[in-house]
Amino acid sequence: MAYVRGRVRASVDALEHLVGGLGTATLALGALLWAAIVAVTCLVGVGLLAAPGALRAVRWVSDRERTRLSRWGEPIPTPGPVPAGLRTATRDPFVRRELGWVALYSLVGLVTGLVGIALPLYAVQDGTFPLWYRLVPPDAAPGIVWWRIDGLSDALWVGVLGVGCLAAAIWFSPVLARLQAWPGRLLLPPPPGVDLSLRVAELTATRAAALDAHAVELRRIERSLHDGTQNRLVAVNVLLGAARRAVRRNPDRADEILGQAQDAAEQALGELRTVVRGILPPVLDDRGLAGALAGLAGSCVVPCRLEVDVTVRCAASVEATAYFVVAEALTNVVRHSGASQVDVAVRRERGRLLVCIEDDGQGDADETRGSGLTGIRRRVEAYDGRMTLTSPPGGPTRMDVELPCGS
């Protein structure tokens, strides 16, 4: 069952890609026609003036396709503007490969896109045909059906054909989407050799971002150790000092102060546990994200339904953040929401980890009132993630967190 659900989700994703690809393919066809006209007019000289514009148009369409492909696969860096001067531009390896891509993709992209969209449309049209075949004349059957339809049995055969189309759509959409992406994957990345400078620039940028996130993380840990645990321990120390002084003068008072010292020590331990859990929960290493979250859900006082659909592991820091988010959110639910049920859903989609926590409590959660929400937001944003919270008075409260997987 889960297998079928996976296939269906994959084909829906693929359909989305195919539609997007059809868009860039149409643009590519336009760019190809323009380039062809310009090339022909170049023979008589007039086209030379329009050539740089045509090359820029090709570059623009190529960049659209690069961005599109980068969204759901290995990122393709964009090469920047077309070199100035027609002679240099025509020698540029990027420009040459892009011209090849425009020619190839206006055919492949269009055909795969149209077939990919037609299959589910036929599936719907033919599949429902037995319900409405009486409304149309017998020789006006839909879709790819060209024969006469006499009576229900013929209509049912068309219905079966529709089911076949549906099956084909589910099985072949991902293949079609890959086929559609193939020209871009082949021709749009930088050619070998030219690649390096772009890669270096890109790596420098991502590395700087990673270091930034790392520094933010260290600061966060330092803060929570300093403002929480250390202060608690100092308080324990102060109270112990006071208690020692009081022992001689007033033993009852000393006992009271020792009680306070113990409370402070317990708080210190509690906070230390939170900090340590926030750094890298050991359970993540042992049981992976799904196992670790199952532990959290199991120990939550409010009944918690958990659905985790993550087949490929993410970077350790991302998993730790997701774990932290769920842990903090559940703590909030228990403490503030008054909910009787909470749902946690985690899935990985296009290189992003999506976490959703929803409860049926009284809502009205406020980030500014010093709950753990600010901590969650800060931590998520340190990873270039996004967090949205909707919590109208009366509920329900829903938190959506999106994290780049980093692997």
């Binding site: 250390q230 202060n231 100092v234 308080a235 120390n237 102060v238 109270l239 112990l240 000092g241 002084r245």
Partner: protein, 218 residues
């Protein structure tokens, strides 16, 4: 002695107040932010302020800034700064304008109540107190590079450390189990070796020694 406490952690703030009140000291106000602290200083005219270095909003050096401002508003206010970790830059910043009635201690010293109270009284009486840890770091940092410092005898280095902590001659003598005269001799020798102008007043000595250790003369 009228005392104001500025500390953002509620538990610690109450702990401090409890400790001092148990010693029959007059804690007139407690504050959780620099703003509240300055209001309390204006309102209650305290003799001593105990101030945490890290306070809201940014939790960096708000406490130091507030302490400096409080001393500007109320000249002669003694300030004892508490810090969770040693930051010699804060110490040298704080003492650069003079060390009268000024102290800088690690928070954990508060647990040794007698010593903490002694330090508090010393600051309130216009003396100065610097945490031994700060002095030790300054000395350690300078020992490797400073030839004059390496010429000091071990006993002289000990005396220098205690001077920097803000102890007066007789207190140093007591700590080292020697006579006042012996301490006096050591101090003259130290000042000669480090080429500092001799001075008998403890607070001015602190400034001079700190400035020396911080490398201002270079």
């Amino acid at each position: 002695m009228r005392i104001v406490i500025a500390e953002d952690d509620p538990l610690l703030r109450e702990g401090l107040a409890l400790l001092l009140r148990a010693e029959d000291l007059d804690v007139v106000a407690t504050a959780g932010t620099p703003g509240e602290f300055l209001v309390a200083v204006d309102e209650h005219a305290p003799d001593v302020a105990i101030v945490d270095v890290r306070m809201p909003p940014t939790h960096t050096d708000e406490g130091i800034v507030a302490a400096v401002e409080a001393r500007r508003r109320r000249p002669g206010l003694a300030v004892l700064v508490l810090s969770a970790y040693v930051e010699q830059a804060f110490a040298t910043d704080l003492f650069s304008v003079g060390a009268v009635g000024l102290g800088y201690l690690l928070k954990e010293r508060v647990g040794r109540v007698e010593e903490f109270l002694a330090a508090l009284h010393r600051v309130a009486d216009g003396g100065s107190v610097i945490d031994p840890e700060v002095v030790a770091q300054l000395l350690a940092r300078n020992r490797r590079t400073d030839t004059a410092l390496s010429e000091l005898s071990p006993r002289e280095r000990e005396v220098l450390g205690l001077m920097a902590e803000g102890l007066g001659n007789s207190a140093i003598a007591e700590r080292l189990f020697v006579t006042d005269g012996a301490v006096h001799k050591h101090i003259r020798s130290i000042f000669a070796k480090l080429q500092l102008p001799p001075d008998d007043r403890a607070d001015r000595r602190v400034t001079a020694v700190l400035r020396y250790l911080d490398g201002d003369r270079r």
